[in-house]
Amino acid sequence: MSEGELSDPVRPNPDSGPTGNLESRSLHPATLFVPLIETTLALIPVGIGVSLFAGMQSALYLGGWFVVLPVALFNIARYLSLRYEVQGQELIIRSGLISRRDRRIPLKRIQDTRIRQGPLQQLLRLARVQIRTAGSDEQEAELSVISLHEAELLKSLIVRRQLGDADTAVSGRTVETGPPLLELGWTDLLLGGVTSRLATTLTALVGALIYFELVLRIGSRFLPDFGRFFDPLDRIPIPDPWRDSWFFPFLDFLLADRLLNSALIIFAGLAFASVGFVLRYFGYRLARQGQVLSKTHGLWTKAGSALNQGHVQALRVDESLLRRWLGLRSIRVDSAGDQRREDDRKKVEVFVPVVSRSVSRRIIEEILPALVSADPDWKRVSPRAVRRVCRKAWAVLTLLIVVNLSWGGMLVFALVPAYPLAYFVCLQRFRHTGYWYDEEYLLFRKGWFNRSTLFLPIRNLQSVSLTQTYFDRRLGLATLSVDVAGQTNTGGGAAIRNLPFGVARSIQIHLADRAAATRFIP
């Protein structure tokens, strides 16, 4: 392993004494300029935009006074004031120039430790450490910028605490790292990229671009040659005899018309998505060390994290249609540090970006101990779910037809086959909705085209609810929902609809009872 690379979290470290303490120290002097450079670089596109409208000078003026100066002052203050240390069981961070802040974070309570390196930081062997504890939406503490060496040291101390005294301190040796659970090669990364949801998004993005170009003709106003990109026949040298041949009109139609453009767009979208995916997950490596799962990945921004297996509140396996055909899936997990719903500021993170079905089973069974099977004998909800959902769909269809008839439209004939189709979809969804539980886990899967399976450790359930609407009561059905301590990545607890009431009630009692008998450790 070369220097400057994220390494395994626990390795014998000469700098941390036998007590595992870390002397009080300040941030790396690079704090004075690295964040400043990163912010400035990130703002260059905005700056260009501003200078287009308001001129170069005002852009520089605005940026200088309102971005560069505050960021510089902030980082100087932080460098001067922040001190951190590890004393016994606590990470102590003192900060603040004017009002002092003294935070003590018990190492055992740390949910998740992350080390991130941007390209500049990789070059200078610096890193940013993010620490999350239970119940906080934001990370509890961030140390930026410290040297990679220090970051590794801190992480290894935290992980050592997480592994527990029984594993390390008492026996005096470190827990061995087994062979990696998963390493992603080029094939995995490319397949993952092509099938990622990002592909859809980017396709839509490029589609919007084309729309602006072809329909609104905005691009050509600024860049005269912009439109030519979309008219490939002008650019492809085609021999003259071909042009005269009988099939040329067809070729012309195929190429010049939207067909090729669409293909191009899709291809470009896939290429972009693959590049993004590869950049993000390059060198993905997941390893396990006692209770702690650590992963590292990333080319542009290198990220490493250590998560205690016991802290997993929920685990979700996703299979989109495309990935399912290729036998691939992805895995997300939530710890109690992932409290908030996904929003603009809280991005969803994928734990395992892409993995084959068989390997995924092994990984899930590694993350969730004592799980009987990742694909158990699923139980179905009440078959009345089919009729119930289908009737809703039919009602909408009927409404559409009635409205359409009143216009005298011909859409009616197109809508009639939708009735059996809707029934078929409802039936398929019902068949692929299933739940399963034992003493340790509650499993719930749903979806037909895009499938997802949720694994919830019962010892981490927070409450178990049963809800009946008026219609539920008429049909003797109920919805069972459970609440867990993390939801950002997995969407939180399950809501199992259309269970027969008696079944739902007995599951509710079982889950609440099992949860009550165990102790929740966030």
């Binding site: 719903r341 927070q462 609810s465 049963l466 809800t467 609440d483 867990v484 009431f501 609440a512 966030p522």
Partner: protein, 197 residues
């Protein structure tokens, strides 16, 4: 275990979940269809909460009706429509007051129930949408006892139970007698071993 079952007021399971889960389309005959079918051992709230809700809803009605009256007066002065047009608001106001002040509170009272078991607290509510929440006592993070101005006057209290959950982390139990609430809070904290944590 069986003794605890009785203590929790549980009925024997209506058939194993496996058996009823795999049934083909047909009524789950043996199963009860509603929550009320298995209710035993639940406690009601303090009946004074009905009066509290009535007062609260009355204040709400007065506010809404006052706003409506101002709006109507404004329309009256501005438009040329018949002066009698807003008359429909009178029955609407009557219905609103009847539903919110006289019809809803007693029914709500009848459906709000709680049961403190040995290891699980269960809360029930809902007239149209019936909900039962089971909170394992070992999951309690902290328990608050709150009083609004009217509640302070009448000696009522609201128990607020917090778990580490996300979408459903806070559970409220309104309408407890203050002393009952205090006792329940003590019991909850004791059962949850909060001090030990």
């Amino acid at each position: 275990m069986e003794q605890e079952d009785r203590e929790l007021g549980r009925e024997p399971d209506p058939g194993s979940p496996l058996a009823s889960g795999s049934e083909v389309d047909g009524r789950p005959e043996a199963d009860p269809a509603e929550m009320t079918a298995v209710d035993t051992g639940f406690q009601s709230l303090d009946p004074r909460i009905i009066r509290l809700w009535q007062v609260g809803n009355l204040i709400f009605c007065v506010a809404v009706l006052a706003a409506a009256a101002v709006g109507t007066a404004f329309v009256w002065t501005q438009s040329t429509i018949s002066r009698l047009a807003p008359i429909w608001m009178v029955p609407a106001a009557l219905v609103l007051v009847f539903v919110l002040v006289f019809w809803l509170p007693p029914r709500r009272y009848a459906t709000r129930l709680y049961r403190m078991g040995a290891r699980v607290l269960e809360l029930r509510k809902g007239i149209f949408w019936k909900t039962s929440v089971m909170i394992p006592l070992s999951r309690l993070q902290h328990v608050d006892l709150n009083q609004g101005p009217l509640e302070r006057k009448w000696g009522l209290a609201v128990l607020e139970i917090h778990t580490a959950g996300t979408s459903n982390a806070t559970h409220k139990l309104e309408g407890l007698d203050y002393e009952t609430g205090k006792g329940l809070r003590e019991k909850l904290i004791e059962a949850a071993d909060l001090e030990e944590k």
